[in-house]
């Protein structure tokens, strides 16, 4: 992946988060504090602004840089998690093919989330969207499938994961105080995770 594409991806996610800001505020506000829309917009705006004119050759380094900027700009739960994801994903990104790069990026991304959040799949978090997505990418890369198709599979797996969060009981963050009341609702962090996947796909589809 060249760093120009990485730049475009960050920019595209920024656009999506800006468009979806009110929606994220609303769903986070149901049981959380409603800051998720603001956090995601802030994080990706800061990252996009920072890397816009930066002359970084390596896409992985660029994602790492984006993560570091997000950590400063939006140090809330999801801001820190996503920042960690980009830092770890960028660091771990390697492979011969684009699909391979995407697979290693998201696998490291999810590992970073789990370590930082002391969390695992099934706990109604962003991980429930991104973990199946990373698995789908790994499978696609193994099968030698192209990046667009691989990301389509990842997005669809992420959406299924998001849907599955409805039946989970929250274990982390403010919403965990509501326990069973959180059943039936999608996890807002997982929703943001799906938006990140969409950002990747949109750029590869261009």
């Amino acid at each position: 992946m060249d760093s120009g594409r990485a730049q475009k991806i960050i920019e595209r996610i920024r656009q999506i988060m800006a468009e979806q800001k009110d929606y994220l505020i609303e769903i986070d506000g149901r049981m959380g504090d409603g800051d998720l829309g603001l956090t995601m917009e802030k994080a990706f705006t800061a990252a996009a602004d920072e890397i816009k004119d930066k002359d970084i050759e390596d896409a992985g380094k660029l994602f790492m840089k984006a993560g570091m900027v997000m950590a400063k700009a939006a140090p809330s739960t999801m801001g820190t998690l996503v920042a960690t994801g980009f830092m770890r994903g960028g660091k771990g990104m390697s492979g011969e093919t684009e699909a391979g790069e995407l697979s290693t990026f998201f696998t490291s991304f999810v590992e970073g989330l789990m370590e930082r959040g002391k969390s695992k799949p099934g706990e109604k978090t962003i991980i429930d969207a991104l973990h199946p997505a990373a698995q789908a990418l790994e499978k696609a890369a193994g099968e030698g499938i192209g990046a667009v198709e691989a990301l389509e599979a990842a997005l669809s797996a992420g959406r299924k994961g998001l849907e599955a969060t409805k039946d989970m009981v929250a274990q982390h963050g403010r919403v965990a105080y509501y326990q069973d009341q959180s059943k039936g609702m999608e996890d807002p962090g997982a929703t943001a995770g799906v938006f990140i996947l969409r950002g990747f796909l949109d750029v590869f589809k261009e």
Binding site: K72, T77, T80, L81
Partner: protein
């Protein structure tokens, strides 16, 4: 929204400026970042104690930076975590060569950022230990203590940690005494009205004209029971039953008491509450060592209060009674 504000987005930096101007002998900020507040009185060789968290809880968290208590604090937006980098910058500044204890409340964003800061400090060979305060009985059932929120009881932990560090104790010793103090500390709160985050501009929850919520968190997290306001003594009894049963505190125990105002509740009411707390403890045959009544961990202009108990022993008594001198909390030695 009835508040004294300029632009809501400048709220935090403007009040921080006001604090630094008011206490020029005691506090300074690190580099160009107003949100990294540290003591001016560095003490070579002393274990340093760092805290941090969202704004909106003054005197928490930065108010306890000063002599005899803690050394530095990173300050987030209202109810938002500061960044790992800010925590790291505070850490570097306050380290006196004896290591740094991170002592903060159990909130996801804070934990992740303090963990990241600790990793950064580790790369600088600064030894960091962490202790996460989680004293709010109402926020998770017994057996799941690790999920509980940290609230006003952290004042006791700061006080004990600072006094222990003043005795030139090692980082492990300071952490150990904090662990002991925390293991005997429990809190529960009750709210009558919500507060408004300046940048949000409207209350994050609603309580009816005659409603209170017992167990509510300091960011308006849900409590254990919402219902009609009852006479103060009944409210206190309900809270005390839950607190005392949790540890449990038993007949013969000696405790210190902290009655914490959440913002709008007058001191008169806090002391009226303390009257019943003392009666309750007496009925259960416990004795009160020290009583602290004031705002220690507020939630902007929320009306309500919390009660904290800390089980005392000889060491904790000595540490609680040691002098302190911070912008928001001063105590002479053997103060009561």
């Amino acid at each position: 929204m009835k508040k004294f504000l300029n632009k809501p987005e400048n709220f935090v930096d403007e009040f921080l400026e006001g604090i630094l101007i008011a206490h020029p002998d005691k506090l300074e900020h690190v580099q160009d970042d107003l949100r990294c507040i540290v003591t001016k009185n560095k003490q070579p060789g002393r274990v340093a104690i760092a805290t941090g968290g969202g704004s909106g809880h003054l005197p928490l968290f930065l108010g306890y930076v000063g002599d005899g208590v803690i050394d530095g604090c990173s300050v987030g937006g209202v109810f938002q975590s500061p960044s790992a980098e800010q925590m790291y910058n505070v850490t570097k500044h306050i380290d006196n060569g004896a290591g740094v204890l991170y002592l903060y409340g159990n909130y996801g964003g804070d934990i992740m950022n303090f963990d990241m800061a600790a990793e950064m400090a580790d790369m600088d060979d600064i030894r960091v230990e962490s202790f996460i305060a989680a004293d709010d009985v109402a926020s998770a059932p017994k057996g799941e203590e690790g999920k509980r929120r940290g609230v006003a009881g952290i004042f006791f932990l700061y006080k004990v940690a600072g006094a222990k560090a003043d005795k030139k104790a090692s980082l492990d010793e300071v952490k150990a005494v904090v662990e002991k103090a925390a293991s005997g500390t429990r809190t529960m709160g009750v709210a009558l009205t919500p507060c408004i985050v300046p940048e949000v501009g409207k209350p994050s929850f609603q309580l009816g004209e005659n409603e209170m919520e017992i167990g509510m968190g300091i960011h308006g997290e849900p409590g254990i029971r919402r219902g009609e306001i009852r006479p103060a003594d009944e409210v206190v009894d309900e809270m005390m039953e839950a607190i005392v049963a949790d540890l449990p505190y038993k007949s013969g125990d000696e405790v210190s008491v902290l009655i914490n105002g959440l913002g709008a509740t007058p001191k008169e009411e806090l002391y009226l509450v303390n009257r019943r707390v003392a009666q309750f403890l007496k009925e259960k045959e416990m004795t009160v060592y020290r009583t602290f009544v004031d705002e220690f961990a507020a939630s902007l202009e929320m009306a309500g209060f919390s009660i904290s108990l800390m089980k005392m022993d000889g060491e904790l008594k000595e540490l609680i009674d040691a002098p302190a001198n911070t912008p928001f909390y001063a105590q002479h030695s053997c103060n009561n």
